[in-house]
């Protein structure tokens, strides 16, 4: 089993013993975990979460540091994917969404999510120069990046594992809890808007459940 078999279900036993492919899957899972934490913490910051044991700047600093860490693992995830000859993904399809012939649209979701994360990160790095409104407008893209990344992950190689499904469930529960708390805390106004946002948020676990029940998994090999 030394030869590299491309693009086929028969390549799975080969893939199971390749360090690069392990690194890709592991860094992907960790990126999703960190992105989830970053999104949930960001929601807490915007809702002025103020527990007694922490100061507020600690929570916002944690939000930023976890976000930067998620980018580091995202970089590992992308580099190991491109370098690994097992999956034919080049640098350009890793950066430009939906142009890769390989495993479209699932790889496109990955590229879209990472581009959105990059946009959020770069604008945050220069946010004092940008001004509040443009920065905030771009920062909202994080809400799009997270579910896109989640469904890219759900199409992944390890989704059949109970532990992996547990990780996805925990990620969804964390963001959903944070978003619902935020919408509840936002006060009495804009009830229709808050209710519809809450319903839209609830669509994520519903769609993920439907995907896990019937969607294609393990598509990347």
């Amino acid at each position: 089993m030394t030869s590299v078999v491309r693009l086929g279900a028969a390549s799975l036993p080969v893939a199971a013993h390749r360090p690069l492919w392990f690194a890709t899957r592991a860094s992907g899972s960790i990126t999703l975990l960190l992105l989830t934490a970053a999104v949930a913490l960001g929601v807490l910051v915007s809702g002025r979460y103020a527990p007694k044991r922490f100061t507020r700047f600690e929570i916002s600093a944690l939000h930023r540091n976890v976000s930067v860490l998620s980018l580091a693992f995202l970089a590992v995830h992308i580099v190991t994917t491109v370098v690994d000859p097992l999956v034919p993904v080049g640098w350009v399809p890793a950066l430009v969404p939906f142009i890769s012939a390989y495993r479209a649209p699932w790889l496109g979701l990955a590229t879209l999510a990472s581009d959105l994360m990059l946009a959020v990160a770069i604008t945050s790095a220069v946010r004092l120069r940008m001004g509040r409104r443009p920065w905030k407008a771009v920062h909202w893209l994080a809400y799009a990046a997270w579910p896109v990344a989640l469904f890219h992950a759900a199409a992944g190689t390890d989704t059949h594992l109970d532990l992996q499904r547990g990780l996805y469930a925990a990620c969804v529960a964390a963001v959903l809890a944070a978003v619902w708390w935020r919408l509840y805390r936002a006060g009495p106004g804009m009830l229709a808007g808050r209710l519809s946002a809450g319903v839209v948020a609830a669509l994520v676990p519903a769609a993920l459940g439907a995907f896990l029940a019937s969607g294609p998994q393990g598509v990347f090999l």
Partner: protein, 76 residues
């Protein structure tokens, strides 16, 4: 920080009251100059930023979640 020393006393603290949501991070990071009222909104004790507090003031500016705090150099 030679910048802080030479510019001592010429930096000033500005709060955008419209943007401020009362997160309170500024008062945690710069208690020497900023306190909070009973609703959690900032009360500026002094808008002049002394040189030894300039780094702390810039940290507070960077941590404001709604970018409502600025440190600007006074034009004389």
């Amino acid at each position: 920080m030679s910048d802080a020393q030479t510019a001592s006393g010429v930096h000033t603290l500005l709060i955008d009251r419209i943007a401020c949501d009362g997160h309170g991070a500024c008062a945690e990071l710069l208690p020497e100059l900023i306190g909070l009222d009973e609703w959690g909104y900032p009360i500026v004790r002094s808008t002049d930023v002394p040189g030894e507090l300039l780094d702390h003031a810039r940290r507070a500016v960077a941590e404001c979640p709604v970018l409502a705090l600025r440190v600007e150099q006074k034009h004389r």
